[in-house]
Subunit: 226 residues, 2 copies
DNA sequence: ACCAATTTTACAAAACCATGACAACTAAAC
DNA sequence: GTTTAGTTGTCATGGTTTTGTAAAATTGGT
């Protein structure tokens, strides 16, 4: 079942939410402040995050935009207090997927959670399957096959393919590859990106010298031809 | 000021919305059912549409998806009744840009309207889409296609096209090309501009010798024929 | 220590761009 | 209508930047 991370500083609310969701069959994780919540989100990659807006130090907005900056796709639902109307707009600007207003009923929260999970699940499933000519790629399972024969791709190669596929035909810069695939801490040369592209082409293209799928965009990076 | 079309079957709500928005300085148009609302939307091309979901005959969802089918980019905000929680998700699926839940406060509605208008305005100002005959150009994504076939343009060519397009049919001087596309530091020959124009014509015009789109304005520069 | 994956390095190849020469063209004066 | 001065089209060329990729070096796990 899906795992839901609850980031909420008030203990009673936190446990109430956890109990409610657990009773529904979800697995719950909790964090009592923004910072540890953020850390947990990155480490555990939950399927959904319930995020209280009003928290000391790192508030919900900050956590949310930080999550987005780290290119995480995890759906975020904000918990806002009544009267913070402007927060809603702000919240959606900051990259949240939905919000509920306290006080809310159990039914409403559950309905929203279900709806949001369904929404992102559909989106996610759409992007797991990828077909480049006779090669089929399952990004979720990290499996690629040509006919019956398995084609071996490394983790980095799958990650790069996913980014290319998500860009849907748009060029992806080398910097973006490094940010998303490698993360913000590491700084390999941009040359490294080229090497991985080369090996992807060697594995996926029937004629790697004039690639059909992975095109280079001079001065920018690469794109996946749809 | 922006024009807002209100499609709402209940008269009190309709006039209340119109009054509120008019007081804020927006120009309002109204329609009392889905069908006439759709017609009005197509004829008047408002800047935003407030659309009640619950209406007899053609309901909000139907209007919305019909609008999208007719390739309209106009932002749509749905008005949904409380308890129709599922509607929210469905509404966004159907192509709406936002929604509010009845009952809502004036402040909330106005905040949303402002936010949505701001959002689409920013997107529109970017001037990304361009169509020259059978060639479609997305300046933001740096993608150009003729039918399904990609048309390869270089970075300079995209930059020059953007300038031409932003000038909206007005001639653009060579000096301005150099200033904007090359920047104020670099000073290539004005001849260079011609070369890039030539390659743009070679790629975009069906008969580059008598160009349909990129006209030269003798003694001045070039312009994009709208 | 071994092996696979990853990163760096280095050099060759390709793409892109600027230039200048000259032909073709335009506009206006004659 | 011709002439002429100025403007634009286009080509070949060479320089610069960017990319391809093989091979060597490094990393990390078992």
């Amino acid at each position: 079942m899906e795992r839901i991370l609850i980031i909420e500083d008030e203990a009673p609310m936190r446990t109430a939410l956890a109990d409610l969701l657990t009773a529904e069959g979800y697995r719950t994780l909790t964090a009592a402040d923004g910072e540890s919540g953020l850390k947990r989100a990155l480490a555990e990659k939950p399927d959904l995050i319930l995020l209280d807006v009003m928290m000391p130090k790192l508030d919900g907005f900050a956590v949310c935009s930080e999550l987005r900056r780290l290119a995480h796709e995890v759906p975020v639902m904000l918990l806002t207090a009544k009267g913070q109307i402007e927060d809603r707009v702000h919240g959606l600007d900051v990259g949240a997927d939905d919000y509920v207003i306290k006080p809310f009923s159990s039914e409403e929260l559950l309905a929203r959670v279900r709806a949001l999970l369904r929404r992102v699940e559909r989106k996610a499933r759409a992007l797991t399957q990828l077909k480049l000519g006779e090669i089929e790629i399952d990004l979720a399972r990290q499996i690629a096959t040509r006919g019956r024969q398995p084609v071996h791709l490394t983790a980095k190669e799958f990650a790069m393919l996913r980014l290319l596929a998500e860009a849907a035909g748009e060029p992806v810069s080398r910097e973006r590859f490094l940010d998303v695939v490698w993360g913000y801490g590491a700084f390999p040369t941009t040359r490294t990106v080229d090497n991985h592209i080369a090996s992807l082409r060697a594995k996926l293209e029937s004629d790697p010298d004039s690639p059909r799928w992975i095109k280079t965009v001079h001065g920018v990076g690469y794109k996946l031809e749809p």
